[in-house]
Symmetry: C2
Subunit: 191 residues, 2 copies
């Protein structure tokens, strides 16, 4: 059984960004792709011309670690990132894929640990549907992951190919940056 | 579609408590029943004769709050409880019920926020299957929730009936206390 799941249910159909959120664009944005064993993260700074990557990587948790140790490690690592880069907004996937109830719960646990740590610092968190991320980066919603990763690498003028988790996280941050522009207000919603 | 889900999958079939955990029983135990809008908690102290309830209640999050605010509130409230009561162990449900993938993810998020906050303080967290909790409290695994709540109230000599969330959390703490005894080593496993 495979099913696309909407983390927020019906609310995902709501208008993109609330009027009160239409203020100056965040200059530093954190994108995260939570997962128990490998949470991708990417921090970008929005410049007047091209955006730049300040940091990206994966918060890895070895298979031997018990779940609760992973959750604590995810929360602590993200808190360290926030302290170091002071992002003004965070972007996370809104629609995601779970094969069954057990994986959905494990994914939810990783996501909950990550979002709680970030929300506690008062940063606004936005969710973006994967299709919208692909649209924003590559131009169409059914783009393959590798095509997105390559375009992210080009947009951020990075010399090395990106690991998949980090590429997804940077793509989220870039897509959110784009949605904050006055002329592209669809795709991200505060959660 | 309804399905019983095991948060830890195959590992639930493993032997109950690892040999290294067989040390002196925790004196203060926190039980939690995580949920986005109403996380039940209960803190008990194990005495030589009867256990006593130090605190119990629900961490409530109004429906108007966005998800991330709830997750932050759950993490912060539990951290406050830990600071106040210094439990040596935490017990949480191991097998639980999710109606569909969306509810599984939301439940997972609440659980992740709670477990990360607790695990960060270094407290050991154990999971217990609901059937084992009922067995420990009422004597048989198919007992109704109300019967469990009434027995918890009697065991802790509380004058007032317990709200369901708090009763579940206290039942988890009591069941874990019982499983720590040398003679009843089944039912809880570190996660």
């Amino acid at each position: 059984m495979s099913e696309r799941v909407n983390g927020r249910g019906k609310r995902a159909a709501a208008p993109a960004i609330e009027p009160t959120r239409l203020r100056a664009a965040a200059e530093i944005i954190l994108g995260i792709d939570p997962s128990l064993r490998g949470t991708g993260y990417g921090v970008i700074r929005i410049g007047k011309s091209t955006p730049t990557a300040l940091a990206h990587g994966t918060i890895g948790c070895p298979a031997a670690w018990p779940t609760t140790r992973c959750l604590a490690h995810i929360a602590r690592s993200l808190r360290d990132l926030l302290k170091q880069y002071h992002p003004q907004a965070c972007a996370v996937e809104g629609l995601f894929f779970a094969q069954n109830l057990r994986t959905a719960i494990v994914m939810g646990e990783a996501r909950g640990a990550a979002l709680a740590a970030i929300a506690e610092t008062g940063i606004e968190i936005f969710e973006i549907a994967p299709r919208k991320v692909k649209q924003a980066i590559v131009g169409y919603g059914a783009a393959q992951k590798l095509a997105v990763a390559k375009m992210v690498q080009r947009m951020l003028q990075l010399s090395e190919p990106l690991p998949p988790d980090a590429a997804d996280a940077l793509a989220l941050a870039l897509a959110h940056a784009q949605s904050q522009s006055r002329y592209r207000l669809t795709g991200t919603k505060p959660i």
